[in-house]
């Protein structure tokens, strides 16, 4: 009877010691598995995003898988990647949607499977998103507008080169741009074309547009490949002196063309911050932190012009370190 009691007490003490050891050794040994699914993998914009994501990967000690389709139109491939990520046990997906509507079902399915979703850059029509990180695209559109209007011309004819109509980003940038153009009486006419998000498609589109509306004196390319294509078309046509080009993002070709004078302004987003913050938010969500998914975590946007491109601030926005 008494020895039984002592045995019980001994067991209690031993279990307590184990509990204490367990407590002191608290911490995870399994790392989170995070997938970054983006729109394509070869533009400067996405390369910077990956660099940011990798910095966060190192900082937060997570496993990071980066995938994206070959073209910025292939939302079906993105859906396949999302399904693959769920199959391969992703804890969180950091996602930039090609299509606001067509990627929604796959994202909802992933969320149902218990995967946290963080949107970067381009939104998706889902209530299952934990956090949204990216440019305030309407504001970026307004900045584009102010770059367009920064001229001595008496009459302004604007040609807008936008990408696929399904994309939320393109619509919002266009909306902001139109808002700011509407406020200026010098703007006489605005022509918009929608093309695939490749330099080639934009180049062809711009050539046709200029042929149709030779009065155009400002061209706007609303993302990186479109800016490149637009600038190329202007150079091809030899109208750099008559037509100003306002573009998006910091493609090396655009930077050279800006130095040559063919591009007058670039709206530089902060893809590095998007990649970094996207992974950081995913990690924080997995750790139980909550974000307001309806409020975008804004990453800074700067206007780069030929005049200010080598200012300290612009250097930092344009050229990645190391």
């Amino acid at each position: 009877m008494r020895s039984k009691k002592i045995l019980i007490a001994l067991a209690l003490v031993i279990s307590l010691i184990f509990a204490a050891c367990d407590y002191s050794g608290a911490g995870k040994d399994s790392r989170y598995n995070i997938w970054l699914v983006v729109k394509s993998t070869d533009t400067q914009f996405w390369l910077s995003t990956f660099a940011g994501a990798n910095a966060a990967k190192a900082e937060y000690n997570v496993d990071l898988t980066i995938v994206g389709p070959d073209t910025e139109e292939d939302y079906e491939k993105q859906n396949e990647y999302i399904e693959q990520a769920v199959r391969e046990g992703a804890d969180a997906i950091v996602f930039s949607a090609i299509s606001y509507s067509e990627n929604a079902a796959a994202i909802d399915a992933a969320a149902r499977a218990g995967v946290k979703v963080v949107v970067i850059d381009s939104d998706v029509d889902s209530v299952n998103v934990s956090a949204r990180v990216g440019t305030d695209n309407v504001q970026a559109g307004r900045m584009t507008g102010s770059a367009v209007l920064d001229t001595d011309e008496e009459e302004i004819y604007v040609g807008i080169v936008n990408f696929a109509q399904g994309s939320r980003n393109g619509q919002e940038r266009e909306q902001g741009l139109l808002e700011s153009l509407d406020s200026d009486a010098r703007v006489k006419d605005i022509y918009t074309i929608n093309v695939a998000a490749t330099p080639e498609a934009a180049e062809l589109g711009v050539q046709n547009l200029i042929a149709e509306h030779p009065e155009i004196n400002v061209l706007v390319g609303l993302n990186e490949p479109l800016a490149v294509g637009t600038a190329r078309a202007v150079v091809d046509l030899g109208i750099e002196d008559e037509v100003r080009v306002v573009g998006f993002d910091t493609n090396p070709e655009c930077i050279e063309l800006m130095r040559d004078g063919a591009v007058s302004a670039l709206i530089a987003q902060n893809p590095y911050a998007m990649g970094y913050l996207g992974v950081e938010c995913a990690w924080k969500s997995l750790e139980g932190e909550t974000f307001d998914p309806d409020t975008w975590i804004d990453t800074a946007t700067t206007i780069i012009t030929k005049e200010n491109m080598f200012s300290q601030e612009s250097q930092q926005a344009l050229f990645s370190f190391g």
């Binding site: 009691k5 660099a51 940011g52 090396p252 913050l277 030929k306 250097q315 930092q316 370190f321 190391g322």
Partner: protein, 561 residues
């Protein structure tokens, strides 16, 4: 063991332990901060030395380059091809004339672009300030097409007289990473390189800083001189790199080190408290097991014994030797007391029996006198036969009363005794009543207490029939009922109310002679137990029924002791 005492003990131990721990944490904290600062200065000094060595190397290179450039006989192209290959940290070497125009540029990054409007590598305006040369803030190289490495530019004057007045060496910032990146101070501490204008030359997380995702408190750091500075939870250690415009800044966190140690100590405290608690519980359980529990159970046993001594059984308790002895003594005491009580009870019963026997032996002198008086009258009147009958009945009455001293007699004899009595009394009362017997033959051989029926019949006559003018009737019946025998004496006399019944059942006879109903009842209960005895049912003016219950007894020796 007393819970309050136990809690107080635990409380004291925890209090002493925690105050000791808090004191030691304080001391520990101070020494931790000191050692952290020392550790930080040592690391930062080391970094400063390596950066200094690196810069000295660059200075050496610069001298070589200057000599080479000033020597018109050297084939520059070949020289720079080799130089740039073995020094990948040099992005470009360029020379400028006295107006700041680019003269020559040597680089593996490509040709200088045609329309070079901006050259970040050389600022003629600065040359007035730094005639002996200087090291620029970090910037990108703008000389080439498609290549924009981040560099610091080292500028030095060339000997006057030639076309080239200045030489500029663009040094890749990322090459400095080797001296900075892997330097850790504490768990999260790091260091970075800053120039005297507050520009970060190299930071392990430079791109995060450029993307506005991280920042250093440059404004604060600029105000601090060389040495260790504890600002809130951050230790800044600043060390200037000798002969340069650069400073190495070490950043480490007091908080994390202190918090970690405090929580570690907290864990130890918690663990110690738990161990003490468990130990206390074990000790208290052992003490209670050995001491207080047995004493308590002994006390409970005593209370129980007090309440019901007769049916009490005691099992001795365990525990320490003293308690065991106490318990065993109590056990002996209980047994002894119970046996004493048994003896006393037996003696009382015997005494009672003896008393009853003595009473039975007595004959009511009134009855005897009245009977003899009747016999005398009969003799005078010459009623010879009746006299004989009376005397015989009287003789039978006495013989059965004596019954050789046995208390239990066959029911047959008891019936004869009752009949004899009724014969005598019916003469006495001049046939005022009739009587009859209704006896089950099977019951006759069983035994019963002698003189059981007579007192009841006597009561029926004196109190029931006596008042009636005639027509009195007494019925005596005996029958078996299971293992019991039921005798009843019914009369149709005056009957009794509840009070009278209670009086008869509870009072000894007032004349102290003969046997009353209470007496019969007592005897039955003493001999056979509480389940047996007399019950009276009576309705005033209608009659009385006295019911006697007793067991079927075949051997008197079972009850006669």
């Amino acid at each position: 063991m007393n819970t309050v005492l136990l809690l107080a003990l635990i409380g004291t131990v925890v209090l002493v332990l925690s105050s000791a721990l808090i004191l030691s944490i304080r001391t520990y904290q101070k020494s931790l901060v000191r050692s952290a600062a020392t550790n930080s200065s040592r690391t930062v000094a080391q970094v400063s030395n390596t950066v200094n060595d690196y810069l000295a190397g660059i200075d050496g290179d610069m001298e070589t380059l200057k000599e080479t450039l000033e020597d018109p006989d050297v084939e520059r192209k070949e020289f720079f091809d080799v130089f740039l290959k073995i020094r990948p940290d040099v992005a470009a070497v360029s020379t400028y004339d006295s107006t700041g125009e680019l003269v020559n540029c040597y680089s593996l990054l490509g040709e200088v672009r045609p329309n070079l409007e901006t050259n970040t590598s050389f600022d003629p305006g600065m040359m007035d300030k730094y005639a002996d040369g200087y090291v620029s803030a970090p910037h990108v190289v703008s000389l080439f097409e498609g290549a924009y490495p981040w560099v610091v530019t080292m500028i030095a004057p060339l000997e006057a007289g030639s076309e080239e007045s200045w030489i500029a060496l663009d040094i890749n910032c990322s090459n400095i990473s080797a001296y900075i990146n892997d330097v850790g101070i504490g768990q999260r501490g790091y260091c970075f390189l800053m120039d005297e204008d507050g520009n970060i030359v190299y930071h392990p997380q430079q791109q995060l800083i450029y993307s506005d995702l991280k920042s250093e408190n440059i404004d604060l750091i600029e105000t601090l001189g060389d040495g260790d500075h504890i600002e809130g939870s951050v230790i800044y250690t600043i060390q200037s790199v000798p002969d340069s415009r650069w400073q190495v800044v070490g950043v480490s966190y007091v908080q994390e080190m202190i918090t970690d140690s405090v929580s570690e100590l907290g864990r130890i405290l918690l663990f110690a408290a738990l161990v003490i608690l468990v130990a206390m519980l074990i000790i208290s359980s052992i003490l209670s097991h050995a001491l207080s529990r047995p004493v308590q159970s002994l006390a409970e046993a005593m209370t129980q014994f007090e309440e019901n001594a007769e049916d009490f059984t005691y099992t001795p308790v365990g525990g320490v030797r003293e308690v065991r002895t106490l318990s065993e003594s109590f056990s002996h005491m209980v047994i002894r007391l119970q046996s004493l009580m048994g003896t006393v009870k037996d003696e009382q019963v015997n005494l009672r029996k003896t008393e009853l026997r003595a009473l039975q032996a007595q004959i009511n002198p009134h009855f005897l006198y009245n009977t003899l008086d009747s016999i005398s009258w009969m003799t005078e009147r010459g009623k010879k036969d009746e006299v004989v009958e009376m005397v015989n009945a009287l003789a039978r009455l006495f013989r059965i009363s004596i019954s050789k001293g046995h208390e239990l007699i066959p029911i047959r004899s008891e019936i004869q005794h009752a009949e004899s009595y009724l014969q005598i009394q019916s003469h006495r009362y001049k046939n005022q009543f009739t009587y009859s017997f209704n006896v089950d033959e099977d019951c006759l051989d069983h035994l019963c207490n002698k003189i059981t029926l007579q007192p009841i019949i006597e009561n029926a006559i004196y109190h029931g029939i006596n008042g009636l003018v005639d027509g009195g009737e007494i019925v005596v019946s005996v029958k078996g009922e299971g293992d019991d025998i039921i005798m009843t004496v019914e009369d149709n006399g005056n009957g009794m109310n509840e009070d009278q019944i209670a009086a008869i059942m509870n009072k000894e006879r007032s004349d102290h002679t003969g046997i009353g109903i209470k007496n019969v009842n007592d005897r039955l209960k003493i001999y056979f137990g509480a389940d047996y005895g007399i019950r009276i049912e009576s309705v005033p003016d209608e009659g009385t029924k006295v019911i006697i219950r007793m067991p079927k007894v075949d051997r008197g020796s079972d009850y006669e002791k």
